[in-house]
């Protein structure tokens, strides 16, 4: 399982942004899959299906799906069903989340929809409204409102 751990700063077009990916994935161009970056002033509408990691700092409406990892920034606004391997959320998601690995919700995150994930971590302050399913167990935990 990829750990969203190391910060790597990269320069492109005289601007800098951060990759939250493991060093192994960043090191070898041969192994690096295509990655998508949705900036703060960009809006994506429709059925987005990616093959690599996705970083969202802007707006997405529709569907957001990848077999790799998703990082939702603090200023991001997603009105879509989201599916990924490991998902880190610091922004707003209105839609269902299906996470095959680990879902991380930071204190600034806000989720409105059903969540199905193997592993969940949630910081104090995270907002969640919907049904929650964690792990391979079929037991469901109803969380109507938590502030």
């Amino acid at each position: 399982m990829t750990v969203l751990s190391d910060l790597v700063v990269s320069g492109i077009d005289n601007h800098y942004y951060f990759y939250m990916f493991s060093r192994d994935e960043q090191a070898s161009p041969a192994n690096r899959q295509a990655e998508t970056i949705i900036g703060p002033s960009i809006k994506v509408e429709g059925n987005f299906v990616g093959q690599g990691n996705i970083i969202v700092d802007g707006a997405v409406v529709g569907t957001l799906k990848t077999s790799e990892d998703i990082r939702v920034g603090e200023g991001a606004s997603i009105e879509a069903d989201v599916e990924g391997r490991n998902v880190h959320v610091a922004g707003k998601v209105k839609g269902n989340l299906k996470v095959n690995g680990k879902l991380e919700l930071t204190g600034s995150s806000s989720i409105s929809g059903d969540v199905d994930t193997e592993v969940l971590t949630m910081e104090a302050g995270a907002k969640f409204e919907g049904h929650l399913m964690v792990g391979k167990s079929t037991s469901k935990t109803d969380v109507v409102k938590e502030k």
Partner: protein
Amino acid sequence: MFFYLYDKVTQDKKLEGVLTQVEHRLIDLGINGRVEKMSVFKNMRELIEDAIKRDAHTVVAVGNDATFSKALSAVAPYPAVSLGFIPMTDGTVFGRLLGIPSGPAACDLLSKRLMVQADLGRIQKTFFITSAEISTHSSVSVQCDGLYSISALKPETPIRIDNIGPVLTQGIGRLARADDGLLEVVLTPPSGQGRFSRKVGEAPSVFPVMRAKITANESLSVSVDGEVVAKTPCEVEIIPKAVKLIVGKDRLLR
């Protein structure tokens, strides 16, 4: 058969000695062939197509970056034909990308025929290995792979569609792979002014795609390497492994 296309730059008196050395080296290596010199009355695409019809299996652009770029677009419709390059001066971008030195040393690499197959982007009849740029306008929208659309909330956001990247207009910086079967739609919102009068930039947005349709409320220019090749609405697509390029072992292209 080898076909050598001499661009107008080879007619510069200062390069006469270099050209003579190149021609002698080609003969020594046994890879000399048919030669055509560009002039005002000759069209590069027609010359290359004519040579290919006469069984040229390798086209060699002799000149500078513009020579190689135009020859690439002419050779691309013929996947069985290889494309080589002899830079006449030092410092060419494609020479560095392909790992090909200038002058007679390039001939030795031609004879070794170390090749890579590179993807090309296509807009109508123009093929490109670098990047296509759309003139900025607030109404530009890009539909990707028929699945989703991208729009910029900030006006005048420049949009590029990269194969390996804008190496001729912006230099060799971050290079995308030339064999991944993907283009990248890159949107770089304009910088604003920070509180202390420093320019504050937003990171570029990047979308890997196989096909992109560009639309706008007005007819906008789409250029490749500084030359306008199409107007919106238009479609840009990736042609995987479209061309065989003769390269050196010190190439940057992957």
